[in-house]
């Protein structure tokens, strides 16, 4: 019996590993409840986006080769992030487009890699979750998940099954939140303005909670909301789907 269950390697992502392990555990809970066996390869660090988006192609390739080797031999690779999953799915094959040895391995990994919520819905055919959450939540579509992976309806579908939760769409749902990786520290003033616009859209929905599928965006938006004294609970979508209400919202004390 056990052998027939799909085997999933969790790509934790460096931000979840460092800042918010509870998202990783929420992901494991959701994957196991959906019928998967979950492994966490120890030799993982980061997907390499900081190097890739800073123009350091050599280091991006070196890190990508390490990820490809580490995650070979699993049925699926799942990340609780559209940005990191997009890196593996879309950008690794591009990085090795001219490398006959690594291109097929990059493409094989890309084909097996998924963002968490879209994996649950599209591959595991999950229709609903058992969680209950009495709140009104705005959902932010993170850019890479939305445009590189087509993650849009899947989180909304599962969130609609959370008892007590109502989900609000933002005024300009396709707009970036201004995180952008190193962009948010290199061009902090511009990043801050884009975050302010996004949080204004959130406030306009009247929701007391903000959800998204990428911790980078969430750390940035939660940090801005806290700095501005805004009363907003910011969480990763996996926490809500897994019913993890013991972990305090991002940027709040226990």
């Amino acid at each position: 019996m056990a052998e027939s269950r799909p085997q999933v390697a969790l790509f934790v992502t460096c931000l979840v590993d460092l800042f918010r392990p509870s998202i990783g555990f929420a992901a494991v809970k959701l994957l196991e409840e959906a019928g998967c066996r979950v492994a966490v390869p120890a030799a993982q660090t980061c997907c390499g986006q900081p190097a890739y988006n800073s123009g350091d192609r050599a280091d991006a390739r070196a890190i990508a080769r390490q990820v490809i080797e580490t995650f070979e031999g699993h049925d699926h690779v799942v990340a609780p992030s559209g940005s990191c999953a997009g890196m593996l799915r879309v950008h690794y094959p591009a990085l090795f487009a001219d490398d006959p040895a690594w291109k097929p391995r990059a493409e094989a990994l890309a084909a097996r890699t998924h963002e968490l919520v879209s994996f649950l819905v599209d591959v595991m055919k999950l229709k609903k979750v058992a969680a209950r959450w009495n709140a009104s939540a705005a959902y932010h579509d993170s850019c890479s998940g939305l445009r590189e992976l087509g993650v849009r309806t899947q989180p909304r579908a599962l969130l609609s099954s959370v008892a007590g939760l109502s989900v609000k769409d933002l005024g300009v749902p396709e707009a970036c939140c201004g995180f952008g990786g190193t962009f948010c520290v290199k061009y902090g003033e511009i990043s801050d303005k884009i975050a302010a616009d996004k949080l204004k859209d959130v406030a306009d929905t009247g929701a007391g909670m903000l959800l998204a599928g990428d911790l980078g965006c969430l750390l940035h938006l939660a940090g801005k909301a806290k700095r501005d004294g805004m009363n907003l609970a910011v969480r990763h979508v996996a926490e809500v789907l897994a019913g993890d209400d013991r972990t305090p919202p991002i940027g709040e004390g226990r």
């Binding site: 934790v12 460096c14 979840v16 590993d17 460092l18 800042f19 392990p21 509870s22 990783g24 555990f25 966490v40 120890a42 993982q44 660090t45 390499g48 900081p50 190097a51 890739y52 988006n53 800073s54 123009g55 350091d56 192609r57 280091d59 390490q66 850019c143 890479s144 445009r147 300009v172 396709e174 707009a175 970036c176 201004g178 995180f179 952008g180 990786g181 190193t182 962009f183 520290v185 290199k186 902090g188 003033e189 511009i190 990043s191 303005k193 884009i194 975050a195 616009d197 750390l219 940035h220 939660a222 940090g223 801005k224 806290k226 700095r227 972990t247 305090p248 940027g251 004390g253 226990r254």
Partner: protein, 473 residues
């Protein structure tokens, strides 16, 4: 091309503090994408047309010499003349020469971004001629001595009240107490002033949205009709266009036209679409006696065959600006280039050099919304990343950022060491966050904490907790 792109952060900062500008940008952020989306939703074959448009342009770019020579042969056969200009200076002097030969005093201009690119107005003024912009937006910024802030809405950054002030300052022959409170007053005044200029013009300069190789025609689309008056009333018509504007056939031009206006303004078509082929023929009721086409290279052919070649597909619709979070935050002038927004950030380094415009490809979140709306499917984020790679390879990145990146990459390539360092980091930051669960200021992280709190880590990394709870499975 003149550029102040090296002052990007300073200009962006000023733009962020400009409340009037911010109000206009906020309107654009919310409403302009809605108009485009409505137009796209009403045309089921829109995505198919994007694919066809891209294929047409890719074919032309791969055979650019063939189609340009065919275009020249057709223009010549129709009685016109094509001038090949390698750079901005050559284009300026060519146009000046034509104007001088015509004994020109007044030169009217339809909207042309290439005209902005080569700064033709200043050149004509220096040589005693009076260039007059006849597109209302261009006319306003000409009076204000400003560059355009948007590819298709050059005076986007100017409010109606500011236009009224500008008119009061410049139209001194009119009653200073005249009402200028309504948009209609402003339009009527501009129309009256421009009408006399159209009639006085000796030469008319227009741009081109397309150069049609099979007929030698040039095509412009406008919403004001000013282009028609500019090119039919004076004795000499000069068309100024980049070499990438050529398409093989009329059918190809109309295919791309179907996505151009929808992407640009949400219109099905622009109000005026004008085809011009050669000078006035004996049987024509009107038209210019001379017809010139000035073809500008100015760095474009150098992009052929490089990783930036896709940029040559651009049809200057402005959709990438309308959907860009950076443009929405800082407006067009911050880019310090004739071309702003994502296309400007990708194109300007090719035109003026990466050293002079280093911020432009870096000041992007790579959110990809530009690529998702580009009618020509130009992979703009990839283009920006290509420039970042060029900057990294040429050591243009600040040394501190480069070393920070190298240190991080050193750790990321050594998982065991990385786990020890990240474990210590998580514990330290969790301690710094204390009961509040967030950090308001942190040495070496000022780039983050100057603008926002840093949510504190939970304290134990996922990897450590996983091994503790699950025994490293």
């Amino acid at each position: 091309m003149q550029t102040t792109a090296h002052r990007f952060t300073e200009k962006a900062s000023a733009a962020l503090a400009d409340r009037e500008l911010q109000g206009m940008l906020q309107q654009m952020r919310v409403h302009v994408p809605e108009r485009r989306q409505a137009a796209v939703d009403a045309l089921p074959e829109f995505e198919t047309l994007r694919d066809r448009g891209r294929a047409i342009k890719d074919h032309v770019i791969a055979n650019l010499d063939f189609y340009l020579e065919r275009f020249e042969a057709k223009v010549t056969a129709a009685g016109g003349k094509v001038h090949w200009c390698a750079d901005a200076a050559e284009a300026r002097d060519t146009i000046l020469g034509i104007c001088r030969k015509a004994g020109a005093r007044t030169v009217t201009k339809g909207k042309t971004m290439v005209g902005e690119e080569i700064a033709i107005n200043a050149h004509l003024e220096r040589h005693g001629m009076i260039p007059v912009e006849t597109d209302l937006g261009e006319y306003i910024i000409q009076l204000r001595d400003e560059p355009p802030s948007h590819i298709i809405a050059p005076s986007f950054h100017v409010s109606a009240a500011q236009v009224a002030d500008t008119f009061l300052e410049h139209h001194t022959h009119l009653d200073p107490k005249r009402p200028l409170g309504d948009i209609a007053d402003l339009l009527s005044e501009a129309r009256g002033i421009l009408r006399s200029r159209f009639l006085a013009a000796d030469v008319g300069i227009t741009g081109a949205n397309f150069l049609v190789a099979e007929t030698g025609s040039t095509v412009i689309v406008t919403n004001e009709g000013n282009g028609d008056l500019t090119q039919t009333l004076p004795g000499v018509h000069i068309v100024l266009a980049g070499i990438e504007k050529v398409v093989p056939t009329l059918e190809d031009a109309s295919t791309i036209m179907r996505i151009l206006a929808r992407s640009a303004t949400g219109q099905e078509m622009s109000v005026y679409t004008t085809f011009s082929t050669g000078p006035r023929r004996p049987e024509d009721p009107d038209g210019p006696a001379e017809y010139h086409v000035v073809l500008l290279d100015n760095g474009r052919s150098a992009v052929l065959g490089t990783e930036f070649q896709d940029l040559l597909r651009c049809i200057r619709c402005g959709a990438c600006l309308d959907h860009c979070p950076i443009y929405h935050a800082v407006g067009g002038h911050s880019y310090g280039s004739v071309y702003g927004g994502p296309i400007g950030a990708a194109l300007t380094p090719a035109l003026v050099g990466l050293e002079k415009s280093l911020d432009l490809p870096n000041a992007s979140t790579l959110c990809g919304r530009c690529e998702s709306v580009c009618p020509m499917r130009i992979p703009l984020p990839k283009m920006l990343r290509n420039w970042r790679e060029a900057a990294f390879d040429r050591h243009l990145m600040p040394a501190r950022a480069r070393w920070g990146l190298k240190l991080w990459a050193f750790l990321a390539k050594r998982p065991a060491l990385y786990r020890r360092i990240s474990g210590a980091g998580a514990r330290f930051l969790a301690w710094r966050g204390g009961k509040a669960g967030r950090i308001a200021s942190l040495p070496f992280a000022g780039g983050w904490t100057r603008w926002r709190d840093l949510p504190a880590p939970e304290g134990e990394t996922f990897q450590a907790r996983w091994r503790r709870e699950r025994g490293g499975a």
